[in-house]
């Protein structure tokens, strides 16, 4: 009766809401792709049409072969992978220590790490610039990796700690009773169960480093050391913006993030620890 009638309505409403949200979230991506494949002469004449009257891949061709885009891309990949690897390694170690051991100064370290997350980055750009400059590391990709790693470690550590907290302590103790040293227990029992956590942390840090603009802009001024977000600004000249090429470059920049998440998504699936202890 009343409930029987309202159920299909409820289902339709649920899907309508999902559809609404999805189109809202994905529309900018669609627009990015649409402008990237619109011929230059149509961009302004057909600006608001949902689909252009003719398509072209010229923008991609120009971006790939006539600009420094590939170099920027390579730089970004190097910086992001380096940051993700360094951060995850350090955060995993720190997270494990916070999760499993009690040591002097633990609370102070945690408090200090929280505080670093509380104020805006803009405040410390000048000091960071001075430090990096006096180390003679301006215009080097390594300086970006160091700075990004430093800024991502606190959050990544808390993330990893929560993953370690989710793994029962009994498992390590059982492994130690079975003849493992603490390190063996970590490697053979805990590590395989932390893969989802490592995947999530890697993904998070990679994306953060991939899209970072502020520090890259401040610390890098040489063309050959530019990362992709900085390089994107070169499409904006003094008198015009090359929309088509900029969007094409944007589309290309999405590819590694997508690939990365496809690669780690199987580690993000929950439930890997189910069955360990009574559930």
């Amino acid at each position: 009766m009343a409930t029987a009638q309202s159920r299909p309505l409820l289902t339709i409403g649920k899907y309508a809401a999902l559809l609404g949200y999805l189109s809202f979230a994905l529309f900018p991506l669609y627009w990015l792709l649409k402008i990237a494949i619109t011929p230059d002469q149509l961009i302004f004449s057909e600006g608001t049409q949902l689909w252009p009257s003719s398509l072209t891949l010229d923008n991609f061709r120009t971006v790939l072969f006539q600009t420094d885009f590939l170099a920027y891309f390579g730089n970004s990949l190097y910086v992001s992978l380096g940051t993700a690897a360094a951060t995850t390694l350090i955060a995993a170690g720190a997270g494990y220590a916070f999760s499993r051991f009690d040591f002097g100064g633990k609370r102070i370290i945690i408090a200090a790490m929280l505080i670093t997350q509380m104020f805006p980055l803009l405040m410390i750009i000048a000091p960071i610039y001075k430090i990096v400059a006096s180390l003679g590391m301006l215009n080097s990709l390594t300086s970006l990796i160091v700075v990004y790693t430093a800024f991502n470690i606190p959050f990544a550590t808390f993330l990893m700690q929560s993953f370690f907290d989710g793994i029962p302590k009994d498992l390590e103790e059982a492994a130690m009773m079975d003849g493992c040293s603490r390190f063996q227990a970590l490697r053979k029992v805990i590590f395989p169960l932390t893969l989802p956590g490592l995947g999530a942390t890697l993904g998070f840090v990679f994306t953060a480093a991939w899209s970072e603009l502020l520090f890259a802009l401040m610390l890098i001024s040489k063309n050959e050391a530019m990362t992709f977000p900085v390089g994107l600004l070169t499409f904006v000249s003094k008198f015009s913006v090359d929309w088509g090429q900029m969007m094409a470059a944007g589309v290309l920049a999405l590819i590694p993030s997508c690939l990365f998440f496809i690669f780690i998504q199987r580690y993000l699936v929950q439930g890997l620890t189910s069955g360990a202890v009574k559930g």
């Binding site: 492994a175 003849g179 620890t273 360990a276 202890v277």
Partner: protein
Amino acid sequence: MARIELKDVVKRYGSVEVLRDIDLDIEDGEFIVLVGPSGCGKSTLLRMIAGLEPITSGDFLIDGERMNDVRPRDRDIAMVFQSYALYPHMDVARNMGFSMEIRKDPSNERMSRVKQAAETLGLTSLTERLPKALSGGQRQRVAMGRAIIRDPRAFLFDEPLSNLDASLRVEMRLEIARLHQKLGATMIYVTHDQVEALTLADRIVVLNGGDIQQVGSPLDLYERPANKFVAQFIGSPTMNIIPVQGNSNGVKLADGTLLELPHLFGTIDAVELGMRPEHIDVVEVGDLVGVADVVEHLGSDTNLYLQVEGLGPLMVREHGNIPVQPGDRVGLRIQSENIHLFGPDGNALRCPTKEAAA
């Protein structure tokens, strides 16, 4: 196979003392059950034997060798955890064979031991499953398989059955008893369940508040509890304890009744009298008269919750089915040879009997 000794073992967390002066000798092949209310330190004691918890002071020896600072992996002790602690990413066979894998034993030997253990525990058809695809009882069996596979010097069990339902618990209890008979290994078992303690143990160690209250065989503890705590902790239903006044040839109850204890000798300076519910008989005319409050008919037994004027509540367990209804007046006779007397400090009084004196 191992003889385990604890000498003056103390455990402190900061300034909090959780275990005091624990002295315990465990014979080779003995089944010891540590029992006590929650927070009594029984699990901590087990974890100290396992090496998962450092010992603050005192000596812990296995076969005469001091083990205080030996790592868990080098103590050659197997442990079954309350949570089972199976490795979720390994199948049953690898879970059971993990200790041999770590020890780098030849893989054909490992396979045959795993197969043998799986047969013993009825897990043969499940060896390729992951723990998440097992029921609680099966997980429990795998955890036991993991312990027996490498033939350790001793087995530790930390409340292994408390996550199972009642019927499975009885079944696994029998299985553990069988395992002990078959392997003849030293086993230390922690539980808060006195039925498990009474049925499995060669000797029971009763702990309370960080102290050993009494060590003895199940019947010892039942028949000769060292103090009021053990008397009330062991035995179900719980022992009745009422205040009394000592007398030269018996004790005087609070309502003025004199309970003669002709088999005891000398002056009795008891302040409390303990009687197990099964040691009070329902009779026509007895020492006391009680009014039935609640009557539980269990078929094999009848539990009576009575109010006795001047004494307060008493519980009586009578064998078989007796036709008593709530509100009935019942005559009670105390089996004077089965009573327990406690002094002002709560310790049991051991009065010399006439037989012993003669």
